[in-house]
Symmetry: C2
C-alpha cells in the first residue's frame, strides 16, 4: 500500500538546515551564540552527523562560522557588514529593475499594487508584523522577472544575511518605504524604468541606517 505521494523525501539534515536557518533569521538563535553539536543533536533527536551536514551548508551561507576544534557559532552582525550588504544590494536591485523592463506582466503589476495596498493597511492598523514578508514579496515580484537566474539567486541570498526581526522596527521606516514603493510602481506603469531603478537604488540605500535597523539591545 502506498503510504503517501510525497515525492520529495526530505533528509534529516535538510530539515535541520531549514530549522536552524529560520531560527537564526527569526532571531530565536542570537548572533555570537555557540552551536554545540551535541546539544543540537539532542534537541533534534538525531546524531551529530546530520547536524554537521546542516552546519556546513549554513557555513557556506555565511550564517555561521567555524573554528577548528572550537565548533560553530552564529555570525555577528557588524555595522560594516551591514553597510556593505546594503550597498551591494542597492547596485544589484537597481540593475534588476532596469532588467525587469519589458518582462513584468500586467499580472505582476497588479500584484505589486495589491501588496502596497496591503502594506498600507498594516500601517493604518498599526500592525507591522506582516510588513517584512509583504515587503519581501513586493521586491521579489519585480526581481523574478529578470532574465538571470544567478543574479536572482544572489539577490535572494543577500536578503537572507540579516535577521528578519531587525527590519522595519519603526513606523516611520515603514511609511518612508511605502512612499518609495509607490514611486517605483508609478514609474514602472509609465514604463520609465530608469527612474524606477534610481528610486529603487535610493530606497535600498535609505534602509541602510544602522540604528534604525538593528537595535543593539535587541541583539
Amino acid at each position: 500500500m502506498i503510504e503517501s505521494f510525497n515525492i520529495e523525501r526530505r533528509q534529516i539534515h535538510e530539515q535541520i538546515y531549514e530549522n536552524l536557518k529560520n531560527a537564526i533569521l527569526n532571531g530565536q538563535i542570537k548572533p555570537g551564540q555557540k552551536l554545540s553539536q551535541d546539544e543540537l543533536a539532542k534537541s533534534f533527536g538525531t546524531s551529530r552527523m546530520p547536524i554537521r551536514d546542516a552546519l556546513r551548508l549554513l557555513q557556506s551561507d555565511q550564517l555561521v562560522e567555524t573554528l577548528p576544534n572550537k565548533g560553530f557559532t552564529v555570525v555577528e552582525f557588524s555595522e560594516e557588514k551591514l553597510k556593505d550588504t546594503f550597498f551591494f544590494r542597492s547596485i544589484l536591485e537597481r540593475e534588476a529593475v532596469k532588467l525587469a523592463k519589458g518582462r513584468l506582466t500586467s499580472q505582476d503589476i497588479e500584484n505589486l499594487d495589491f501588496l502596497v495596498a496591503k502594506m498600507d493597511e498594516c500601517i493604518d492598523q498599526g500592525n507591522l508584523t506582516e510588513m517584512p514578508q509583504l515587503n519581501h514579496e513586493f521586491h521579489l515580484t519585480i526581481y523574478n522577472a529578470i532574465p538571470s537566474q544567478k543574479m536572482l539567486e544572489t539577490i535572494k541570498m543577500l536578503w537572507e544575511v540579516f535577521p528578519r526581526y531587525a527590519m522595519f522596527s519603526t513606523n516611520e521606516n515603514a511609511i518612508a518605504s511605502q512612499t518609495k514603493h509607490k514611486g517605483i510602481i508609478e514609474a514602472i506603469k509609465e514604463d520609465n524604468y530608469d527612474l524606477a531603478a534610481q528610486l529603487m537604488e535610493k530606497h535600498i540605500q535609505m534602509t541602510n541606517v544602522w540604528p534604525n535597523i538593528i537595535q543593539k539591545e535587541g541583539i
Copy 2:
C-alpha cells in the same frame, strides 16, 4: 620549546575541499562524474566523514549536486547556465569598473600594464597555458579596489563556476581579449571609467560564445 608558528591548522576536510575544487575546475574530474564517498575516502586515505564535509561545501558552491541515496555528482555545464553566468558577470564587472574609479592606485595601474605585457608575451610565444591565471589577475586587480567585500566575493564566486581548462582555447580569443584589456587600461588612465566599464561589459559578453569556450569533446 615552541613547536611551530603555524597558527592556521588545516583540517582534513578543508584540504579535501580545495583538492576537489581544483580538480573540478582544472577538469581532472569531469562534469557528470559520480563522486563515490567510498572511493574518495580510499584515495584520500581518510574516512568518509571529512569527505562529506567537503562535499557539502562544494554543494553550496554549486560545483556538485546531490540526490538523496544517490550521492554526489559533478554538475553539468549547460549552454544556458553558461550564458546566464556570463550575462550576470557582464553587469557585475561593468559596475565594478565604475566603482574602481578613484580607488585604483598608480601601483595597481602599473600592475595592469605589467600583466597585459606578460599576456602579450604568452601570445607571441604561442604558449597559452598561463593565460587564464594572468587574465584572472588582471581582472581581480581592478575589482579588488571596489568598496564592497560582498560584491567582490560574488564576482570571485562567478569566476569559479566553470572549469578553467575551458577558457582561452584559441589564439584568436586571447588576441581579442588583449585588445579589450588594452582599451580598458587606456580608458582608466584617462580617468574615463564610464568608457572602461562599457568596454568591460562588452569584453565579458564577448567571451560568452559557447563553442569557443567549451569544446564538447573536451568534456
